[in-house]
C-alpha cells in the first residue's frame, strides 16, 4: 500500500467485486472538485475455471480505460501509480462480496440481548448471519449442536453475559461449539476463527473449553452492561479476520490485497460506512435499501444509531419465488391494476428463479415484477424494523408523566415520520424504465410519513465511496453529494385514516414562478413537477385526525426539494390499507397508476 496525503490524490480507482459483477469507477479531481467520471464492469471471476478475482478487476478496469481514454494498466497488467497526465491513478480501493460474502454464525446467552447485540455487530461488519444460537432460542441443546455441525461459517462470534454477569451460560455456549467442531468453508487444514466478545470474567474458561482446535481471538465485551453496547472492537476484529482468513483463502485475493491502498472492505460494511458519515454530517435520519437478485439489504441511521439487516432470501431473481412464498401471491396481486392468470404467473415466477438474468419484455410482465418488488421491499423493511430496536433488558427510569406514554425497551427505533431521506438501489429500482415507477415502489413499500426526500443510488457506488471514505473522506463525501444520488423528489404523506373522497389535506406550494395550491382527498395522490435542484416552501394543512409531522390537524411548513419525479402529495393514508381481495384492489390500483402516470409512455 502506498501512503499519499489527500492533497496528492487526484485520480482514484475503486472497484466493488460483487458475486456476479465487478464494478469499477473512476473519480477525478476536476477544477478542485472530486467527481465520478467513468464506470466499467465485467463478470466477477472467483469461480472456476478462472478462479482469480483480479482477472475480473482487470477486465472492468480495461472497460474504464476504453471509456475514459486513460491508461490504467501497464503491459504486464499492473496498475500504473501515481497518475501522470492521461495515465494511471493515485490510489486504488476495493470492496468485495464475491464468493458469497462473509458468512458468520453468532451466539449469545439471551436471544433478545447479548445474541441480538452480537448479530448487530456481525451485520454491521457486513456479514451474512447464518444462524443465531442462544441458550433460550427454544431449540434443545442437541438440536443446537447439530445445527452448528451443519453450518460451514467463515467465523463465529461468541458473546454472552455482561461483565460480572453470568459465566455459566457463556461457558455452556462454548461447550456446545467445541464438540460440534464446525468446519470452515475454505480449506480442510484451516482453523475456524472464533471471536469471543462476552463477559470478560468467562474468557479464560471459554479459551480452555474451546482448546486448540479453533483460532480464538478475545476482544472486549460487546455488551459490557445491559445499558451499553460496545460493538466497535468486535466489528474491527471481524474485519481483520475477514482479511486474514476469509479473503486470504478466496481465489486471487492475495493479489488483490497487494494492489489496494486501503484494506478491502465487505461491500455492505462500506455502504454502512458512507451512510453513517452522511447522516452524521447532515444530521439526517436515513434509510437505504439495496434490492438484489438474491438478497435485500436495508440500512438505517436513526439518531446516529446505525443498523443493517440482510434479508437473505428476498430478491428479484434467485429469490423471487421465495418472495411469493413468504408474501403470498394474493398479496402481490393487490399491487396490479390488471387481471392476470395466477397459474401462469406461478410458472413465470419459477422460470425467473431458474433463469435469473432475463428481463421483462411486455408491460404486464414489468408491472408484475414491480409488484413483486413492492412485497420484497415491504418484507425486508418489516424485518429491519423488528431488528432495529432499542436495547432490550434496559431498566428505564420513569416519571409520573411517562405513565401515560410508556415506551418499553426493545421497540423499533425506525419512525417513518422522522425519516428524512429514503435511498433505493438495486436493479429493479435503478433500472425501472421511469423514475416515477422507482418512486412509487419505494413509497408503497416503505410508506414514509410526513415529509421525506427520495433518492436512488445512480449506479450503486455507495460501496466504492464507503471504502474510499477510509482514506479520503472529503473525496468520498463530495462524490456522494454530487454524483452518487439521483434525487427523485419529495413525498409528503400525512399519517391517518379517513373516508375515501373526504378532505385529507390542503397544500400551498410557493414556486419560483407562482403559487400552486389545492386539496388532496383521502385515497388520492398527486404528482406535481418540481425539478432537480429546485426547492420550494410547502404548507400543508391536514384535516382533523391527520398528522403531517406537526401534530394531529396542525399545519406544517417546510422546504421541499425537487428531483426527476417532483413532489408527491400522498393522501392514501398511513398505514396504506389495500383491500385483501386483489379483485377489489384492482380499481384502486388502476386509479393510483393513472394519477401517477406510472406507465403512461409505455402503454
Amino acid at each position: 500500500m502506498t501512503q499519499r496525503s489527500p492533497e496528492q490524490i487526484n485520480v482514484i480507482l475503486a472497484t466493488d467485486c460483487g458475486s456476479t459483477t465487478t464494478k469499477a469507477i473512476l473519480i477525478e479531481n476536476r477544477g478542485g472538485q472530486y467527481r465520478q467520471t467513468f464506470r466499467g464492469e465485467a463478470p466477477t471471476t472467483v469461480e472456476a475455471p478462472l478462479a482469480d478475482v483480479t482477472i475480473g478487476v482487470r477486465n472492468a478496469v480495461r472497460e474504464l480505460e476504453e471509456l475514459s481514454g486513460r491508461r490504467l494498466l501497464d503491459a504486464q497488467g499492473h496498475l500504473i501509480r501515481p497518475a501522470q497526465g492521461q495515465e494511471g491513478c493515485d490510489i486504488y480501493v476495493s470492496t468485495s462480496s464475491a464468493g458469497g460474502g462473509l458468512q458468520m454464525m453468532v451466539a449469545g446467552v439471551i436471544r433478545e440481548m447479548t445474541a441480538a447485540s452480537a448479530q448487530r455487530a456481525a451485520l454491521g461488519a457486513g456479514a451474512i448471519v447464518m444462524d443465531v444460537i442462544a441458550t433460550n432460542d427454544r431449540r434443545r441443546p442437541h438440536e443446537q449442536i447439530q445445527r452448528i455441525r451443519e453450518l460451514r461459517p467463515d467465523m463465529i462470534l461468541l458473546s454472552g453475559g455482561t461483565d460480572g454477569g453470568t459465566v455459566e451460560h457463556v461457558v455452556q455456549l462454548a461447550e456446545w461449539i467445541a464438540p460440534a467442531r464446525p468446519q470452515p468453508r475454505f480449506g480442510v487444514q484451516y482453523k475456524l476463527p472464533i471471536i469471543y466478545a462476552g463477559n470478560r470474567h468467562a474468557a479464560p474458561m471459554v479459551a480452555k473449553t474451546l482448546g486448540e482446535q479453533f483460532a480464538l481471538a478475545i476482544v472486549p465485551n460487546l455488551r459490557p452492561t445491559l445499558e451499553q453496547e460496545n460493538l466497535g472492537p468486535a466489528r474491527e476484529k471481524i474485519h481483520d479476520l475477514f482479511l486474514e482468513h476469509v479473503m486470504a483463502h478466496a481465489p486471487g485475493y492475495d493479489k488483490l490485497l497487494q494492489w489496494v491502498d486501503a484494506p478491502v472492505m465487505p461491500t455492505p460494511a462500506a455502504v454502512g460506512n458512507i451512510l453513517q458519515r452522511i447522516a452524521q454530517q447532515e444530521g439526517l435520519n436515513v434509510l437505504g435499501v439495496d434490492i438484489g437478485g438474491a438478497t435485500t439489504d436495508v440500512f438505517s441511521v436513526f439518531d446516529g444509531q446505525f443498523h443493517r439487516t440482510v434479508s437473505a432470501n428476498l430478491g428479484m431473481s434467485y429469490s423471487i419465488s421465495n418472495v411469493c412464498a413468504e408474501a403470498g401471491l394474493e398479496q402481490i396481486l393487490r399491487w396490479i391494476p390488471l387481471e392476470m392468470d395466477t397459474g401462469e404467473l406461478r410458472n413465470r415466477i419459477k422460470n425467473k428463479m431458474i433463469r435469473p438474468t432475463t428481463i421483462p419484455q411486455t408491460l404486464d410482465d414489468l408491472i408484475f415484477e414491480q409488484a413483486v418488488a413492492r412485497e420484497a421491499l415491504r418484507l425486508a423493511y418489516e424485518q429491519h424494523r423488528q431488528f432495529a430496536v432499542s436495547l432490550r433488558g434496559v431498566q428505564q427510569q420513569r416519571t409520573v408523566g411517562d405513565l401515560f406514554a410508556q415506551k418499553e425497551s426493545g421497540q423499533t427505533i425506525i419512525d417513518p415520520m422522522r425519516l428524512d431521506l429514503l435511498v433505493g438501489s438495486g436493479g429493479v429500482l435503478s433500472h425501472a424504465p421511469r423514475m416515477h415507477q422507482t418512486a412509487a415502489m419505494m413509497i408503497d413499500a416503505f410508506q414514509p410519513e410526513g415529509v421525506t426526500r427520495l433518492a436512488k443510488d445512480s449506479i450503486f457506488m455507495m460501496p466504492h465511496l464507503g471504502v474510499l471514505a477510509e482514506v479520503h473522506a472529503q473525496a468520498a463525501l463530495e462524490v456522494f453529494r454530487r454524483d452518487c444520488l439521483i434525487y427523485l423528489g419529495t413525498c409528503a404523506a400525512p399519517r391517518g385514516q379517513g373516508k375515501p373522497g373526504s378532505l385529507c389535506f390542503r397544500y400551498r406550494l410557493q414556486r419560483a414562478d407562482g403559487v400552486e395550491s389545492g386539496e388532496v382527498l383521502v385515497g388520492q395522490w398527486r404528482w406535481l413537477p418540481l425539478g432537480p435542484g429546485q426547492a420550494a416552501p410547502l404548507r400543508i394543512e391536514p384535516a382533523r385526525g391527520w398528522d403531517a409531522g406537526a401534530g394531529s390537524g396542525r399545519p406544517l411548513e417546510c422546504i421541499v426539494h425537487g428531483g426527476t419525479v417532483g413532489l408527491i402529495l400522498d393522501g392514501r393514508g398511513r398505514p396504506l390499507m389495500l383491500p385483501a381481495d386483489p379483485a377489489q384492489a384492482r380499481p384502486l390500483m388502476h386509479q393510483w397508476v393513472e394519477e401517477a402516470g406510472l406507465y403512461r409512455e409505455q402503454g
Binding site: 406461478r346 422460470n351 414489468l366 424504465p433
Partner: protein, 401 residues
Amino acid sequence: MTQAYTPGLKLARRIRHRVCRRLPMAGEVLVQVGQQVSAQQVVARTWLPGEVTLVNAAHRLGVEPAEVPGLMQVQVGQPVQAGQLLAQTRGLFGLFRSQLLAPTSGVIESISGVTGQVILRGPPQPIEQLAYLAGRVTEVLPAEGVWIEAEAALVQGIFGVGGEAYGPIRLACPGPDTPLTPDRLDESMRGAVVVGGGRVSTQALQRASQLGVSAIVTGGIDDQDLRQFLGYDLGVAITGSESLGLTLILTEGFGEIAMQQRCWQLLASHEGQLASVNGATQIRAGVIRPEVVIPLHDLAQTTQASSIKTDRVGDSTPSESPSGGTALPVGAGAGGPTLQVGSLVRIIRTPYFGLVGRVTDLPSMPQVLPSGVKTRVAEVQLPDGRRLIVPRANLEWIEES
C-alpha cells in the same frame, strides 16, 4: 457487459468427463490412481464424530456445578454403556445417594465444573463417498478424495430436485412433446432413469415413486405439481438434499413445455445404458445444474477416441459440476460461445417462452421494449417464418454439433 444472453446448458454426445469426489472432512481414500471404478463403488470413507448427548449432571444430582468433577465415577475419554453409573453423590452417612446413569452408550467427552454438564459422544458414523461416475481414477487427493474420468454423454438440466441416483435409461414417451402421465409408467421401470417428454404431472411422479423409479428426466412441470410433490413451495433454487425417493430433472423449465428435440434424441439413443444422475441444483454464483451422465466406456479403451475429440474438449480449466465434480466445457472454447446471426436459440421468457428459432439480426443499438426497458435485442426467426424482436438477455444459446 459483452454477453447479454444466457449460454446454453451442456448437451454432449461424447466428452471426457471428470468428477471430483471429496469427503466433507479428512478421511481415507480407498482406491488408487489408474483403478477402474463402478458408479456405486465406495471410493473414500470418513467417520463423522458421533452424536453428542448433554447430561446436566449438576441438576440431576442436585449439587453445585463445581462439585460434579469430584463425584464422577468415570473419566474423560472413558467409554461407557447405556445405564452405566456415571456419578453419584456421597449422600447422608452413605445413604440417600443420588445416582447419575448414562442415558446412552458413548465416550465421555468432557466434564464441566463450570456448568455441571457432562458430554457423552456417541459412536462415530461413517460417511462414504461413491464414485458416481464409472471410470478410471486419475488422481488421489490424500485423505480427501479422488478425481475420476470417463468418456461420457452428458445432459444438463435446468432444474432438479433429489440427489444422486443410478439406473438404466428407459423411455416412457414416444416423443419429446408427449406429456408424462401415470399410464406411461410400469413395473419394469423400477430402479430405472425414466425419460419422459413434455410436462410431468403430480400423479405421474407419485406413481413413479410407488414403482421405485430411480429418476425422472423430462421437459417441464407445473409449479403447482412441484409443490404437491415436494409438500412445500420452493423458495430458492438450492436443491439436492430432498428425501423424495425419486430424483426429478427438468430439461426446460416450468409450464407446458416439450423437451428439446436434440436432448430427447440423445437420451433415446442410450436407452438401456446405465446412467448416473443428480438433481442437485444451485442457481447462485457458482451455479450447479442437474445432470444425466452416461459413461460410454472406460478411457483405457478409448484413448484414441478421446485424442481425436480433443478439439471438442477444449483446454480450459475444469469447472465444478453438479456431482461436486467437473465437466470440461464442450464446443464453446475457452472464451465461451458468442451469439451470432444464424445461432440457434431458445426464448426463455414470456411472451414467447419456450419457442426456438434462429437469430437473423443483432442490432448494435439498444431498443426500447414494450415494457419500456431499453436494452440490446436480437431478431429471431421461428420455424413458421415469424420474426420476433427479443431482448438478448431472454435468449438461451442452443449448441449445435
